[in-house]
Symmetry: C2
Subunit: 148 residues, 2 copies
């Protein structure tokens, strides 16, 4: 089955917000307020399933640093995993970021998320950390960086 991606729309927010905690298996919704769809939908991607989103990527082309792109959040429905969906979304975002003049992309994850660390390594990212207090006191994170 070939997965078709499309640019995200602000109106995707409700359907995405409704599923992320279930997809993660832990409370994660606070990381994804509506502003990310409102203001970055044109650099974000959705793959539709039969009854809602099957996967999505929330991406930013940094307004402050014209070299840098940033992947804020990627979600894949449990039933769509191990099919290359996240690879597809990252590859499309890389192309979109290059087209926007970006030469580097970064992302972060929690140290506990060993699956994400292995995925980013396989996608060619360097892995730094865990970095103590990256997102403030007590919020250690692993950082990923890759040239585009």
């Amino acid at each position: 089955m070939k997965h078709q991606h499309r640019p995200a729309r602000p109106s995707d927010y409700e359907a995405i917000a409704a599923v992320v905690d279930d997809w993660w298996g832990r409370p994660i919704l606070a990381v994804l307020p509506r502003l990310f769809l409102d203001h970055f939908h044109h650099t974000s991607l959705v793959i539709d399933g039969p009854s809602g989103p099957l996967a999505f990527l929330i991406g930013i082309l940094s307004p402050a640093d014209p070299r840098q792109a940033y992947v804020h959040f990627v979600g894949v429905a449990p039933q769509a995993r191990r099919q290359g969906v996240a690879e597809l979304l990252y590859t499309e975002f890389f192309a979109l970021a290059r087209a926007g003049g970006r030469t580097a992309v970064s992302a972060v994850t929690a140290p506990v998320n060993t699956g994400s660390i292995a995925f980013h390594r396989a996608m060619g990212f360097s892995v730094t950390g865990p970095l103590a207090g990256y997102n403030g006191p007590g919020q250690d994170l692993v950082r990923f960086d890759r040239a585009l």
Copy 2:
């Protein structure tokens, strides 16, 4: 005393992250990950105090909607309140947003934050809500809108 503002820098993150929970009197750090300073510092403002930030505003000129500006977060140290500091930061951000071609500005707050609602009303924002599930299931918010 005249407060001097300056553009934020990515390196302001540590000092800001260290104080926000104390300034709010409740856990709020999760709303302000490092990405907001990394990617929006040039549209954000800081007022320095004698030993760290006295106040700051994190603002976004929406990349997806070229009409829209967004105030994500404003913090004022307890000892600097009731001196017009937030008004100063908003007024400067409005000017910065207009210079960037923006014609509207929005923000949100929790319904419990009656001080913020009164402040935005006084600054000329319309007040909508509380809007059920604005930031996902159970996350009701009040929305503020103002022309620029």
